[in-house]
Symmetry: D2
Subunit: 340 residues, 4 copies
């Protein structure tokens, strides 16, 4: 059975496991007050070229979005996101559970558009009754987006400029950042560190068992952040677990080294399917491909491949997602192409 269901189906990259095993019997203090956490943070700051940054390791993506947004917003503010933003659609109301509204702008190709953002904010402040409304307090974007698309550097710069004009911190959700950085893109990790106020580097989907590294890019971690993390049940006693995985992933460029092949294989898959006449729900340059399949093909496919159902396309077609990961092999892609 071929596995293309998602990019979190396997365990951890072997080097990550190895690092956990090698350090296993070395006792350290808990809650992130340990040398592994310090080491991983330093490596990330070096990789992103942001020496004034503060790095904190959390366990999962929804948790990270919830904690970051909750700690940055004031009580009367909400977070602006594209309508397809993960925080708006698939986090079971985690943001609202902290008392904040997700303010949405229709997405364009999975992304938030800088002009739409500016218009949203200007309209808000122009409204005579905006004191009775939720203030746009920060901006959330995903890179890659929920549809696998990527912002260009120019797009990020323009969003960043709107955010700074209206004093709204910009938060970038990098759950799949590894697959974004290694795609055909002009956006680097350093660009992201420069253009955002906070972002996270996804571990869970990029080679770790769990873990996301939150980077406050310019010494702007909220006061008593650790207490607020604890308050949301998001602090783990063995802080080493999340940190050690990033320590391995940011040694010798492992993070990008293991994501790059996944993207390459996804592009091979995409181009191969295009050659066979398949249509795509949208053009994705990263490790997730959204293809349109005839319903009649699905039963056979299901018997050979694990994939994700996305949505009905029309009466006869369905959109499915095929995802590669650091664990995908070229043989698997070839076999999938031969099946499809």
């Amino acid at each position: 059975m071929l596995f293309f269901e998602n990019d979190y189906g396997y365990g951890a990259h072997p080097k990550v496991l190895e690092h956990l095993a090698q350090t296993n019997m070395e006792p350290v203090s808990g809650y992130g007050n340990d040398k592994f956490t310090a080491s991983a943070a330093e490596k990330i700051k070096a990789a992103a070229d942001c020496p004034d940054a503060q790095v904190y390791f959390l366990t999962g993506g929804t948790q990270t979005n919830m904690v970051v947004i909750d700690t940055l917003l004031r009580p009367y503010e909400g977070v602006v996101a594209s309508s397809c933003g993960h925080v708006n659609t698939h986090e079971a109301g985690a943001i609202e559970s902290t008392g904040h509204k997700v303010l949405t702008v229709p997405h364009k190709n999975g992304k938030l558009d800088a002009d739409d953002l500016r218009e949203y904010v200007q309209t808000f402040y122009a409204d005579a009754s905006h004191d009775h409304m939720v203030f746009p307090g920060m901006v959330y974007i995903s890179h890659p987006s929920e549809y696998g698309t990527l912002y260009t550097r120019n797009e990020l710069e323009r969003i960043s400029a709107v955010c700074r004009e209206f004093s709204m911190p910009l938060f970038l959700d990098g759950a799949r950042l590894g697959y974004g950085l290694t795609a055909d893109t002009d956006v680097t990790l350093q660009d992201i560190a420069k253009l955002t106020d906070v972002f996270y580097i996804g571990g869970t989907k990029c080679g770790a068992l769990c873990g996301e590294a939150v980077v406050f890019t310019h010494g702007n971690m909220p006061k008593q952040f650790v207490t607020m993390v604890k308050r949301r049940g998001a602090m783990i006693a063995k802080g080493r677990l999340n940190a050690l995985q990033f320590d391995a992933l940011f040694t010798d460029g492992l993070y990008e080294k293991i994501c790059a092949p996944a993207v390459k294989l996804a592009i091979k898959l995409r181009d191969g399917l295009k050659a066979k006449g398949y249509r795509f729900a949208l053009e994705s340059p990263t490790n997730q491909q959204f293809i349109i399949v005839e319903n009649s093909r699905l039963p056979e496919l299901q018997s050979k491949v694990v994939y994700s159902f996305i949505e009905k396309y029309d009466a006869e077609h369905t959109v499915i997602r095929l995802a590669t990961s650091w664990a995908t092999t070229e043989e698997q892609v070839d076999e999938l192409l031969s099946i499809l």
Copy 2:
């Protein structure tokens, strides 16, 4: 340097790591919909002899307390706990962050007393203005308690009886359950499953890297529990991580096998220190020992042993905690005894 600071300073028990490594390249679905999760749940249900139970794996203790309490309480209810209950003192207000009050009863030797509990509830309902007060909606106890003490079976039965009389679910926090079950006690895992409505088996402090297994003992998991877990950012994509660790811990009785020596060593330490004339803040039968040390001894001690500061005892003395764990060796305890 000897490490007696806590029971979460090392990584995972080698058999746990081994199980993670052996299953690493086997792809499975995410979010707990996998065979490892199913297997671990079955083993726990068998060990606790509660075939109708539902098991869910979370990542940390505060998170588990927060999720369980939040999902069991109605909006107008609070949770009753002893004044030293972890949810009342050291979770940074996690329970309150979900909108619920922690209702406290003074502790006795670290424990909640059944008669005090009954009186609290009876006084509440007798109060003419109780509609303006927070209703006692459930009861929280820790076993072992925050001070390492243990409930007897009779004490648990009496608390359970009060809970059932007033229709309050009883929740037992078993962050260190392994060290409780293997101490000198008449309380078994099966007793706990019978007498409580929900409890959790601590993994983080008993051999795992992370993970706590929540057991709803009689098919009473709240409706849409998974959505509420997700809403609190408490669901991890690789559900296998928590589950596989419990799958290892509940194979061939590993959980108790690795905790029993830790308790035995703690008792050796306790008795050895008693013989040397040390006094204890209280009598603990489990892996945490709270000893009273002259302040003048601390500088030397600090140079040789990592321990936890608990509180000032008086002008000349300090209470410190020494904790053993599955990773502690008899040599370490002997060396500690020779130092003290």
Copy 3:
């Protein structure tokens, strides 16, 4: 200066004030446990022909929406509303402050469409990942809507049918219900009581100083509702204040008697303006009229009339709102027509 800014600019209808004054020195118990509250509730139940209903008096509209929605939803649920629903736009995130998401469907002429609602809910349940999404737990509609429009009985019946099919309580916000019931409509108070699960009768905008009467139409007031009201700071000590005003408004049909002339005057204004060639943002049959005015006319208008700015229509025009109320006189409308 003519006052057409809104329908809450004056104090209370004289008969309401009179009732407050006449009962002023009669002492009663607090928090709604008084004979005035009982009397007002009975009158409302009789007027709405719903003998099994439970009536509770709150102070303001946003408060009422917040309390009703918060107490009806389960933690994993949100409220479905039209995109222009007051709870979505102008309540400063009150619903989100209770931890719940507002799930929106684009409005049609200010209203929620039954087919759109059905499709929203069906799409939700058809989504394979809906356990990670906010469940549609109840439905909110305003009657009259935020744009002054009205549901027909058939439209309400169809919405009600969808709600019952999917077990979602239907909540009708009647902040301006008096102006809705007395417009050209086939919807009666009894219809509303039959077709909804809970609704509120607006007092603040229909003759009272403050106060909204929440009606749980079939004995379905949530358990310990009073405690949850208190918990939200929404209970007033002198429960008599809200209740006495409704007691007056529901004596001899005062509520509709004082709202009917306001609607009649609004229609006179509308038709008069139409005759003068004015255009309207939409067709409203109730006491709020949304007219399109040339920007060049505004300075003079502002010097003679207090109105509400709604939004820019285009570069040369603005949408303004003119509202009548129980306090508006025919002379004022005539004078306004002569000015415009």
Copy 4:
């Protein structure tokens, strides 16, 4: 039937009602943007001699406590109160509903002691694990206290000094402030304005139908306070209602003029009962008297007087509360004395 149940059993003082009636047909803008609100605020600032203060009118006491505390605390902070503080006992968890813990210190004669407060805060900061605990973020006191007792100026000064030392805003709940200011006391309204950061002047229990005036004493109203008030459902459309009542109460010293007789009558009652040999639960200098009555006397008493049951004193006695108010007459007190 004599009414001594509480101080909110009657309507409003006649001059308050009269002011509402006289201004009734004057239209003004809503939500507090009106001249009545401005006028009342100015009168209060003059009376309290705090020209830089900001005044906001809310509707009830629990609402006021909830809004003030929620808007002043940061997410990781709680409010320190005495164990008998209203926010801790009789507000149905309103503070917790906003996500904050009430941190308690045992009360002394109904009051918070400055030394106890200092010790609480010092112990907190001395705790090595205080990052895992709820920070003491502000201090709440009631004056008069829940038991009718009063702080001396010196006691307030000492509490204020601790608050300033640890940068915790001091909030004084003045639900019954009128009865406190007119008792035998050395504390004036100006003292309170000087020594606290925010306080409220109770209207509901001191002559108004509803309404509490929040005073931020030195320009320290939180940013976007109005939006946060709206977000909690605490803003009323007819802001005039609360404001006009205070406008009347702060004209010609009405507030104190009508509370002083109530206190005088309470003292007459107290001294009269003492002369008859009655014992008191504690010594109260204000309008609430807590007396110990033999249970055998209660049936007859109930047939002639409405009072409040407080608690069982012992097997044969009960503590009841007798409260006077601005509406109490000397004849009523004399009659009550003759009955008791």
